[in-house]
Symmetry: C2
Subunit: 173 residues, 2 copies
């Protein structure tokens, strides 16, 4: 299935000049949702995974389904103030200013193999921060999986040698 056809382009969101890739049309379509999950699994075939980390909040959608199909647990990577227990924190740069992400300090056990999942790979700042959080706890990032990648933002330069798989690519804005 050509998943790109299931994604809606919304012009000028969240601000003028940005074409937003709206994945709600894809996840609202049963066949497209299943096809996306199947394709994600295929991209990481043969790689053993102990846990799936999902980045708040659309990342939770595919991370949860993948955790279920892999029969592993899911780790939420969240914005500050959302996780109730002891956390660790990593900052990342935004276009103006910076943001932070957190995980529970007991979310990853040493040596666990973690697949990071989000809906969209843009500049890569949140993914790189998520990878640092996992590695600080002794986890091994076995890959980063996305539904959509905005190739023109060159996130891969920021993500070094991690295995990155995205199902749908946009070459230009």
């Amino acid at each position: 299935m050509d998943l790109k056809k299931k994604i809606r382009n919304v012009p000028d969101f969240p601000r003028q000049g940005i074409g937003f890739k709206d994945i709600t049309t894809l996840i609202g379509d049963a066949a497209a949702l299943r096809s996306a999950v199947r394709q994600m699994r295929a991209r990481f075939a043969g790689i053993s995974v102990d846990k799936i980390a999902g980045i708040e909040s659309r990342g939770f959608i595919f991370a949860a389904i993948l955790a279920y199909t892999y029969q592993v647990g899911m780790i939420p990577v969240r914005k500050p103030g959302k996780l109730p227990y002891s956390t660790i924190n990593e900052d990342y740069d935004l276009e103006y200013g910076s943001g932070s992400l957190q995980i529970h300090s007991d979310a990853v056990q040493k040596g666990e193999r973690i697949l990071i999942v989000d809906d969209l790979l843009a500049t890569g700042g949140t993914v790189a921060a998520s990878a640092r959080l996992i590695e600080r706890l002794g986890g091994i990032v076995v890959g980063c999986c996305f539904l959509v990648e905005l190739d023109f933002l060159n996130a891969r330069e920021k993500l070094g040698n991690y295995r990155i798989e995205s199902l749908v690519h946009y070459k230009s804005e």
Copy 2:
């Protein structure tokens, strides 16, 4: 499986005197996550469902897995400003002030049977708002499914005749 044992109680979060029910320990446990999904399915056995609505953002986790296992689409119910396309809005009361939830105005087709999913049923304000959103678009709410219910907040009084199923109950704070 006794799911309650997989939920961590975090005292004084988000503020003093509140015992927060931390479900990250449950979703991080592969067997508990699968058991929860199986139990949710069992509670709605025999009821036909066209789509699953998940309430931002922990609600996305179980809504996504249920959509996958039911082989239907998932609808995100989100805080204002997050959904890029045309939306409708419903307000709900908070302890101090009010909040709002939105769905895309084309997310539900007339007559579609929708199961609403969230991690926690507290006062029921967000669920009632979600049900109103779905019904304004002509959808039929076939039930509301939660991992945890805080019985002492009496949400069921607010939710009228909807079928409500929660896997884990807390009788007192």
